[in-house]
Symmetry: C2
Subunit: 903 residues, 2 copies
Amino acid sequence: MANEKMVYFYGAGIAEGNASMKNLLGGKGANLHEMASLGIPVPPGFTITTKVCVDYAETKKYHDDLKEIVDENMEKISKVVGKKFGDEENPLLISVRSGSRVSMPGMMDTVLNLGLNDKTLLGLIKQSGNERFSYDSYRRFMQMYGDVVMGIDHDNFEEILSAVKKETDVKLDTDLTTADLKEVIKRYKAMIKDKFHKEFPTDPNEQLWGAITAVFGSWNNERAIQYRKINSIPDNWGTAVNIVAMVYGNMGNDSATGVAFTRDPATGAKRFFGEFLINAQGEDVVAGIRTPQHITKKTADEWGAENGINEDERVKKYFSLEEFMPPAYNQLVDIYKKLENHYRDMQDMEFTIERGNLYLLQTRTGKRTGKAAIKIAVEMVNEGMITKKEAIMRVTPDQLDQQLHPMLDPEGIKGVKPIAKGLPASPGAVHGQIVFSAIDADEWVERGKKVILVRNETSPDDIKGMQVSQGILTATGGMTSHAAVVGRGMGKCCVVGCGDIVINYSNKKVEIPKFELTFNEGDVITLDGSTGRVYKGELPTMDPEFTEEYSIFMNWVDEFRTMGVKTNADTPEDAKRARDFGAAGIGLCRTEHMFFGGDRIKAVREMILAETLESREKALSKLLPLQEEDFYQIIKAMEGFPVIIRLLDPPLHEFLPHSDKDQKTMADEMNLSIEKIKQRVNSLHEFNPMLGHRGCRLGLVYPEINKMQITAILRAAARLIKEGVDAKPEIMVPLIGDVNEFIPVKKMSHKIAKEVFEEFGVTFKYEVGTMIEIPRAALLADTIAKEAEFFSFGTNDLTQMTFGLSRDDAGKFLPGYVEKKILPADPFQKLDQEGVGLLINWAVKKGREANDKLEIGICGEHGGEPSSVEFCYRTGFDYVSCSPFRIPIARLAAAQAAIKDKK
Amino acid sequence: MANEKMVYFYGAGIAEGNASMKNLLGGKGANLHEMASLGIPVPPGFTITTKVCVDYAETKKYHDDLKEIVDENMEKISKVVGKKFGDEENPLLISVRSGSRVSMPGMMDTVLNLGLNDKTLLGLIKQSGNERFSYDSYRRFMQMYGDVVMGIDHDNFEEILSAVKKETDVKLDTDLTTADLKEVIKRYKAMIKDKFHKEFPTDPNEQLWGAITAVFGSWNNERAIQYRKINSIPDNWGTAVNIVAMVYGNMGNDSATGVAFTRDPATGAKRFFGEFLINAQGEDVVAGIRTPQHITKKTADEWGAENGINEDERVKKYFSLEEFMPPAYNQLVDIYKKLENHYRDMQDMEFTIERGNLYLLQTRTGKRTGKAAIKIAVEMVNEGMITKKEAIMRVTPDQLDQQLHPMLDPEGIKGVKPIAKGLPASPGAVHGQIVFSAIDADEWVERGKKVILVRNETSPDDIKGMQVSQGILTATGGMTSHAAVVGRGMGKCCVVGCGDIVINYSNKKVEIPKFELTFNEGDVITLDGSTGRVYKGELPTMDPEFTEEYSIFMNWVDEFRTMGVKTNADTPEDAKRARDFGAAGIGLCRTEHMFFGGDRIKAVREMILAETLESREKALSKLLPLQEEDFYQIIKAMEGFPVIIRLLDPPLHEFLPHSDKDQKTMADEMNLSIEKIKQRVNSLHEFNPMLGHRGCRLGLVYPEINKMQITAILRAAARLIKEGVDAKPEIMVPLIGDVNEFIPVKKMSHKIAKEVFEEFGVTFKYEVGTMIEIPRAALLADTIAKEAEFFSFGTNDLTQMTFGLSRDDAGKFLPGYVEKKILPADPFQKLDQEGVGLLINWAVKKGREANDKLEIGICGEHGGEPSSVEFCYRTGFDYVSCSPFRIPIARLAAAQAAIKDKK
């Protein structure tokens, strides 16, 4: 540490750091340095590195030299701004803000106006000529410092503020007079002394170090840890501290503060877009306490038109920055263009206008919806700003996933009036039962409910509750409020700033005065995150509509993708949908679901209860034509692409009823005694069905089941071939642990194929392969590959068996494993590359050595999970197979893997 | 095939083959050739090789040249004996017998007297001068040939024979006159023609080829396949056919036939030992139809004394061969000595005396009891005949196992009179319920019964029933009867030739007229296979008594053994017993069994039902002193040796009652509502408990359980160390799948150790290691080995998870897997070296690379199975651990592995 630079200064057109130093200076810090270098007006400041944070977290103390270095840098700020820290005449005030590698909105703590005390306050008054502003700044500082550094709960301050407001009969903070604010500050001091037996620090240096330590400490507060967990951010990254000279957006009506995006973060439209508040400090915008106004006249006009506000009134009450402060606006326009061109990506900026002077406080790559991500990526390629490869790497699979969320069915909502309207913060259409707190959301979801979290606003404490909710609805806040930013990040449907609703937390009601409606906790509503509309009850949704940019983007994806993508589909409908999503074939068609439809289950049960081969074959003969038709339709829907059909997999007891009532019904239907049924159910009972009589083990005891299914598959294909349809059936044997389990099925397939070829007078290519889902099969892949034409890794079961962990039972302790970092992630969600991956790697290597024509794929849930898809690519898979809705994600993940590989 | 010699001739002092050619000529054939070379009198003959059999099994036809070659060899026999095949004056008759690599007694078919027809019969009469003998030979030939070659069931012949006996009012076959036999033959021919529409072949060459083909075919008859399955003999070995000139032991009272052992096959005593029948053919002895007489005067005298027969009567009625035919006897003595010296092992010989001339028909390494195997091995070393290494390789682990069978407790049988006495054919003491057929035995055992199979005699059809029975009791037959030979081979307690009993199959009763006792099916009796005594009811047994030879032998075993042998033991008693058996430490001490004793289960249940950490700790504090005392006693019993204690492993629901009644009792005892208990039972329910919340996963959720157990272990050790006892505790963490599951337990152990060391003022070495029983742990063994001090392979679970096969549920299909050869053996009995073994090999290699001090062992059931022990040796294990009774077997298997390795 001793020889490493601990502090980086910027200001007055120079900077010691730059944008590439995010790991060391945090995102916010690095970009401040970069902006300073670019000549963009930023208040001067310096950054204490993330390494100091990590070091402090370990040793609980600072390097001996740090204090001196910080003092030197404070001096440098002084020189630039011509103010002095702690000076009673012309005091330098600073902000102390955290900034880690990646943006963690609202998660880390900030202190503004630091350096104020009863004496420097007088200097501030003198310097600003604004007594009320100065006392307000002092009040805000005490509140923030008290909360963040001294650990005095926010409520203690709010209580006093409310009391004074009540006593003086005012509604808004801004209506408080200087005298009122003096009273507030007096009471703050008394409260801190009387209730907490502390003295509010008056020494600016004590304040400074208190704040620095609080920022470093906040890296490990619970909210931050929670956020990192959800977003897979390593704990050892640490945060930097940015100490920046204060500028004020709340110095009167010639001051303002705002946030802006170089393009629309919700739609991706190429329009300058943002919100600001007059006479406010930055936190006011993000916190969503006042609903802010538009930056450009154009968006303000649009908003006005949409909300039925006439132009005059709009310009009078809801003016835009463009109209209100043209010079600052024009300067901001120049800056945003410069920044987007410089960073070659959409920027999210914070700015403050102090008495007409514009300062940029932050710029960063803007979070965006999936739709926006695609549109921006495609348009930037068209604008020549980035390459196709960069475009592909810019859209995360999660963003693409958002694009695939269902929308409200236009037919279904025809004539249905929304009950409220807010801002369309994050797209998708969802319904759920109303809950009013994050804790309730968590509890209800635990009980299996789907909920919509309804709040005035959200805060970082709500992260977990937001995560589990279907969607989020807030009464206040704008498109950049906490709920909006976090909701978009999560790909969670979100409507914010919905002023139509009035929430009463205490009796758990939400009222919509406009329509005289009242909803209670548990009532169902539907949110449309793409329009901001809220509906009563559950409305029908439909598959997402895909934009032109989406098609262009996905075409590019396929240009760079080398690995195949197939689908898991059990019905012709699923097959068709998956084809539309870009699937080239079926990687897993499960046949057992077909056994449940209509009267089929009766024949299946007859088969299971049969005591002789003959009666079993009789029951199977009823199923044959039905299965043949199933396969006919599915293979037809996938014409030209291979269709892998897995032979029966689940244990037979899954087809029998287990309750007395259902057993009685079955007994009556089959004209059997209930005892007979109970007896068979008992005889099929298993202690560990996961490790029981299922998969290929069924077909080895009852080859006639395999015979029926293989016959159905090959007959269906033969019919199609005769009809001129390019059918490509493949037969997959599940749960192989030894090649000797595979060989009989392969032989049977060839025998049946010969018969079918003769009967139909056609020949066609078909393949016989196997799942690799038992560890032993992976270990002995070479022996199996000599016989099998393809391997399909069933990573669900392979994970269960490699971990010795039942997915159905792991719920009791697996979340704790992830929480305690025993495992980096739930291995059923993300493929365990270290352990299960080792086994897969071995099997692929051995399999290919033994059979260089072996086709290798995956058909477990992991086939649609991006990091797992990347693993499959690296391991040399021919394809991944996943559920229809995951197909585009798998395509993107595969393309990104290929691009990364070529780098 | 074309260029390989298909037929090998021997006779007249020369031989084309020798004893080393067992694979090609079969055991019987190779030894016939060897004996011929040694100048021992054998009738001339030739052997058709096993390769011809294998070739025939594949192609279903013979090589073009074979017929000519056989004819040439038949000519050679003719020349030696001066008789001609098919000649009407002086016909050559032959035996056609199978002979595979290893002896398969009674399993393969034999035809004697081949070459007889109505014409050659006249030649035989002329040549032998004995009409009755000749017709009897013809009758026997027709019966055997009809049965074996023509497939006409034995009963058809027996029926006719019985009818004629009844008509002529005679009891024994030997009482039938020539005229009677003529009638029998006439009726045989008629029966074959009328009932089966076949003609008995009269052409000797047709007979010859029919018999050869039948022998080859018999390799694949059901009994042979069954025998091979039980004895793990490959199907592709094939059998040879031996064609040998007939000699007759039934040419009158100057003729005899018998079997002899160079040493006692039951005890190993160095005494010539055997049985013979006057005027009989070989099969008569083995079939046990007549009880034979002794060969030596000494054993005949002993038998007489034991059965209270005075010397005169004994010499008159039960003369020995030594007394009856001194010259033949003396010649036989010379031969047996020559053979044992030549083969350097105990021989089992068949001989025939034809009109005073001795012929050896077979010699082979004699089957023996475990006790005999050890005694013979030790004595042969002492006699300088073999080396210690050879001695060790001569005793199979199965034979040693027999030695470890319990015996009747002499105290317990004091004053208890046996109800019957037979020959002590195979040692051990067992009890069970009487059944009268092999089929019944099988059925009763399926239903969970223990049975004693009681038969007049046994036949190869009974193999499976014998296998599943506790013991076998036969009314007839000698020490070399089918029941005796097979029983010894199986290590199955067996009493034969028990003339005291009278069996009535039809009403399922056995009577003992001497005591006027009647036993029904299902009644319990006890057999003592070491004395031949039979007792009513169940008698107390005791641990086996070990002979001096056993001790010597086991000392030699340990001289050559390099791998350690520990025991799985949960109690001080087991620990002591295992130590006596030679265990050097405990490889697995399960702690859960201790949780059930007495009142402990209450505290355990309190702990499980506890809702807070405090109440859980309170319950655990009750268990701590009890566990400490358990560990104190066990570690003490293993003083000087390491004791590996596994932390709690089973899921908690195993400790709760599951029936309503038991739950009610528990509720009353604990003063809780039954709902509360049901609720906890339900919340602990698992779909796949094998893959559920158990092993280290418990301790990670409830670290206080680990804390209690680790504290108890280390406190117990500390107390012992203080008392001067050399305590070596080791803590084993079960079910690890990731090193992160191990580290917290290791840290906790070190923390507790520090506290215990301080409290007791002592320090001692202890180790912390882990089970490797989850495939993932094996795969990631390197990361785990960096932290763990030892690995203990839990091959039970590792097998379950690697195969994806629940041991509890596999019973429904796993036997079929072995039967259909999908798997070579039940992987829960014999370690699957191909699959699970691959994983173990990997883990050992990776583990040792990461930690060269890592100690590696096995504690699954396989630790006491010989082929698995050999695998562990080859894989570089430090030790195997098994149940106390398997310790000597593991020691022997380890020594044999080391000796094989050095070869």
